[in-house]
Each structure stands twice: as C-alpha cells, then as structure tokens.
C-alpha cells in the first residue's frame, strides 16, 4: 500500500517534471521569433557604433575602414552646427515641456467638471481626432493655415495688419511647432489623467463639500492631488526624451530659411548622411551615439528619481 502510493507520487512527479521541461521548450520556441528579430534588427546594428570611431567608407566596410579615434566627435563639437543643433533640440523640448505638457492636464481637469455625460463624451471624441492624422497631413494643414493666402494671414489683413511669412521666419518656428503639437496631442494626452480622475473616491468630494469647499477648491484639494503621481510619471517619461524631437515633423516643417531655430540634432544627422552627395557616416554615427547616450542617461536618472520619490520606477 505504502509502496504503491509512493511510486504513484514518484511517477507523477516525474511526469510533471517532463511536462515542465516540454513546456519550457515550447515557450522558448514561441518567444524565439521575437528574440531573433530583436537580435537581427536591434543588436546587430549596435556593432555599427564603431563607425563613430572610423572614417567610414561604404565599400571598405567596417573592417577595412580607417580608425580615427574620437575625431568624429571632435569635428562635430568644434563645428558651428553642434551648438546650434543641441541648443535647438533642448529649446524645443524645454518650451514643449513648459507650454505643451500642462495642457492635457488642464484639459482633463476641465473635462472632469462637465456634468452632462453626452457632452463630455462628444468633447473627448472630438479632441482625440487630431491624434490619428499623419505628420505629413498635420504639416500640410499647418502650411495651408499659415501660408501667405491662408486663413491666419487673411484674418490679419482683414484687421489691417500685414501678412507674416510664418513658415519662413526662424522666430515663428518654435511657436508653430509646439502649437501644432498641442493641437494634435491635447485630447490624447489627457486620457491618462482622466483615468486617474475617474478613480477618485466620490466621498472625498462630498467630504470637501461638507467642509464648505467650492468647486475650484475641490479641484485644488481633491482632483489635483489625485493625479500628481500620474503627472510625475509622465513628466519623467517626457524628460527622458529631452534630446529627441519629432524628427519627421521638423523635417517636414522646416526649410533652409528657418534652420537657425529649427535644425535639430537628428535633422542635421539625416542631412549629413542621406541628403549630402558625400555621406559622412562617421560623423552621423558619432552624433547619433552622443544623443543616444545622453538619452539613456536621462531615462535611468529619471527612473532612479521616481523610485526615490514614489517608491516605484518605470521598470
């Protein structure tokens, strides 16, 4: 009896061990395509980082090209373009954080105060719409609105002003870039905050009301504290991409007369390697490596800060 019982458990154990080994193998096979694609298209290009330290020649390849140490980096940082591109990249991001980042928060707080649920839903649906159009379309619309015969200039002329060449003036580039970004991202960016606001316990509002709080006081003392954690996470995610800008959008929106304020790191890199008759892959890779490294530092620093502040990080 005892013997039999033990052999049953034993074989059951063995069977489950075998099954586990089979499961492990099958799961590995299922994740394998992703691992292979990741290896091919994410890890293999990393060997290309060495191009940053070479005078790279497409025909000679990596093994045949001449090593030049840090001279590609030196060439970038000594050129007039380094300061211009780094400054423009940082400024676009800083302005976007100052003016663009708070907008979805304000919008979410306002939406949250709408009492009529139909009206609320329609407003939300309408506000998400611009998120789904392509950058080409967005820039196309911006150009039609701000061009010489566009509605903005026509309005200015109606009121007796003089038409402004918005798209050719370096002074207007950042405003147009960030303004159109707000238009496109306002509704979409508010989703996370609205979700957090929906989770607020109604009794908190009732308690505040009993204490005599008016609606603005309720926003300040109940709604805002409820979304502070979300704001922190979003802000850190946003800060981590401080050295990258919507490259596609800048490329479509700028032109040689606005380079002064519009040329950013990635557009410069692109012009150097794909729009020039003598592609300078070494220089571009060095610039790419520099901005990639700074970006990673911001991500990890941001993660550390969130962990310190709120106890949970991004990873």
């Amino acid at each position: 009896m005892y013997f039999q019982n033990s052999s049953v458990t034993h074989s059951r154990k063995r069977r489950s061990l075998m099954r586990d080994r089979k499961s492990q193998m099958q799961l590995l096979m299922m994740i394998a395509p992703a691992l292979i694609l990741c290896f091919l298209f994410c890890y293999v290009p990393m060997y290309g980082i060495v191009i940053a330290f070479q005078k790279y020649n497409l025909i000679k390849g990596i093994l045949g090209s001449q090593w030049v140490g840090f001279s590609n980096f030196a060439r970038y940082f000594n050129s007039m373009y380094a300061w211009r591109t780094i400054r423009n990249t940082l400024l676009i991001n800083v302005y976007d954080i100052v003016f663009g980042f708070p907008m979805p928060i304000l919008f979410a707080l306002i939406i949250n105060e709408i009492r009529n649920s139909t009206f609320k839903r329609i407003t939300q649906t309408v506000s998400y719409l611009p998120h789904f159009i392509s950058t080409v379309v967005l820039v196309g619309i911006v150009k039609l609105i701000f061009s010489n015969g566009g509605v903005v200039n026509k309005t200015i002329e109606t009121f007796g002003g003089e038409a402004v060449l918005f798209l050719a003036k370096p002074g207007w580039f950042r405003s147009i870039y960030i303004g159109s970004g707000i238009w496109q991202g306002l509704g979409w960016g508010s989703i996370m905050y609205l979700a957090a606001l929906n989770g607020v316990d109604m009794s908190l509002y009732e308690a505040a009301e009993i204490d005599g709080a008016n609606r603005i006081q309720k926003i300040i003392h109940v709604s805002i504290p409820a979304i502070v954690p979300v704001i922190c996470t979003m802000l850190i995610l946003r800060l981590s991409s401080i050295l990258s800008v919507g490259f596609e959008k800048v490329m479509l929106l700028y032109n040689s007369s606005t380079y002064e304020t519009a040329d950013v790191i990635s557009t410069y890199l692109y012009r150097k390697s794909f729009e020039s008759s003598y592609p300078d892959y070494g220089l571009s890779s060095a610039i790419g490596l520099f901005s990639g490294l700074v970006g990673s530092i911001f991500v990890f620093a941001g993660d550390r800060i969130t962990k310190k502040l709120s106890g949970n990080g991004l990873f």
Partner: protein
C-alpha cells in the same frame, strides 16, 4: 427631500459650469476647425479660394480637386502599396508579439526575466539610424516591401501590452487544466488564449493599421522605386508641388493649372486621411483601451 435638493442643484448652471462648457466648446471647435477649413478649401469654386475668401464654410461647389487627385494612377498604386505593407506588417507583428507576450506572461517560464531584459534593453539603447540602414542594404532589403514589413514587426511595447493582458485577464488555472489534459503550450495559446483575447488583438491591430497608414519617414528612407511608394510618400510629393511646377506643363491635365494649389493640397490631405477618419469610431475605442492596458504596469 435630499434628492430633490440635489436635483435642483444639478439643474442650476453656475458661472463655473458656464465657464466649463464655454472652454470645452471652444476646444472642440479648435480641434474641428482645421478639418472644416480643409473641406471648404477642397470643394469651393476656384475664384473664392484664390481671393482668400474661403475661411470657414465652402463658397460654391467644385469637385475638380478630387477628380484630379484620383485621376492620377500613382495614387491608386500608393493605396495598394500601403495596404500590402500594412497587412504584412500587421500579421507578422501580431504573430510575433502575441506569442512572445504569452511566453512572458507564464510565471514558471525560466527565460522570462533574461528575455525581458534582453528585449527591453533595446528600447533605450540602439545602434542608430545609419548602422540600421547599412544593415538593411547589406541584407538587400532596401527597396523592397520587406524592409517595411519585417524589421518593424517586432515591438517591445506591444509585447508588454500582450503580456499584461494575458497575465491579468486569462486565469492561470485554465492553462493548468489544459496542461493536465495533455495540451501543448501552442495549443493552449491557439485554442484557449486566442478566443479570450479578442479585445487586445483588436487594439494592437488598430495600432498597426494607423501607424502603417501614417508612416512616412521609413518608407521615404528605405524605398527608391516610386512603384513601391506608400500613400504618405506620394502625398508629401503632391503637397510639395508648387505653382511653378504646375505651370510648366509637365502634368498633363488641361484644367489642372486652373485649380488653386490650396484646393489640390486640401483635397489630397482629406482623401488620404479618409480611411482613417472612417474607421475613427472603432480606432478611437480600441486605442483608448490600449492606453489603459499599457498603463497597468506589468
């Protein structure tokens, strides 16, 4: 008594309510206005557009801009290319990412942690654009549909969304009992997990459709052959045709030169966005879901 009072209170609009409605109505109008402006520019008669009189509603009615847009064969070719790339990329991406997400959602999977780190690392660090381009050209992928279908099938972000969904919404007991019945992991995935996961698959499908439809930069970089150009590349080309180019007669439409550029551009913008705008109700629903799933930290 209490409810009657709160009812009365709810009905009365305070100054605060009026401000809320005014601001949200204004925001809604600002969101919609550019679309209205595009419609009006594209369907108005030529002269009001040229005079700059069209600023809100259409003046007259004229579909010439659309007729010219659709008379060009390259547009139909571009729609087709976009569909081919989108379908290929979506199918491959759904297969690769959902299976990976499933494997990562199984708590006893021994490679779970190393595989997660291996995949996540590349979200924050990569070789950059140039090595990627050189690699694709060495693999002879440049100038083929494959360049846009294969490398971008993998998405660490979608893997995480799948993983979160599978581990939150599929009870582990289902898998265990199927294992006892002798099912393999792939069978469990196909026969038990898939039927229960329609919402997340719909969400990710929508993400793929929209991102493929709107993709401009990568096709522009990786394709030279204009036969292969997807919609956004052709659209950008059409948007950058200036008045001067129109006049030089290289475009063989008698009436083409009479149409204001604003109208042809607005028509091109709307015609190329139309499929997305038609799908919008579904897209919007599933996209919001995706944000919510993604927000739950895995």
């Amino acid at each position: 008594m209490q409810s009657a009072r709160s009812l009365k209170k709810a009905r009365r609009l305070s100054a605060f309510d009026i401000a809320v409605y005014a601001i949200s109505t204004a925001v809604g109008l600002i969101m919609l206005y550019p679309f209205v402006y595009m419609i009006s520019l594209s369907v108005s008669d030529f002269q009001p557009v040229l005079n700059g009189e069209v600023i809100f509603l259409p003046h007259g009615f004229n579909t010439a801009a659309y007729r010219v847009f659709f008379a060009d064969n390259s547009i139909w070719r571009a729609y087709l290319n976009t569909v081919i790339i989108a379908v290929g990329n979506t199918i491959l991406g759904l297969a690769v990412n959902s299976m990976a997400g499933y494997a990562l959602s199984i708590s006893i999977f021994r490679w779970r942690r190393p595989a997660t780190i291996y995949l996540m690392f590349t979200m924050f660090f990569g070789g950059g654009l140039i090595p990627f381009y050189i690699l694709l050209s060495r693999m002879s992928l440049v100038n083929t549909y494959w360049a846009l279908i294969v490398p971008y099938a993998l998405s660490q972000w979608y893997i995480m969304i799948f993983r979160t969904f599978f581990s939150n919404d599929i009870p582990e007991s289902l898998r265990e009992s199927a294992l006892l019945d002798g099912a393999s992991e792939l069978q469990i995935f196909r026969q038990i997990v898939l039927p229960l996961s329609k919402p997340v698959f719909a969400t990710i499908t929508m993400y793929y459709i929209v991102s493929n439809w709107n993709n401009y930069f990568m096709p522009m970089l990786l394709l030279d052959n204009s036969e292969l150009f997807p919609l956004q590349v052709i659209l950008q080309h059409k948007l950058s045709i200036s008045n001067a180019q129109k006049m030089d007669g290289s475009l063989n439409f008698d009436f083409y030169s009479a149409i204001p550029v604003q109208s042809t551009r607005a028509a091109a913008i709307l015609a190329s966005s139309l499929p997305i705008l038609c799908l919008y109700p579904f897209i919007q629903k599933y996209f919001v879901k995706g944000v919510m799933i993604g927000a739950v930290k895995g």
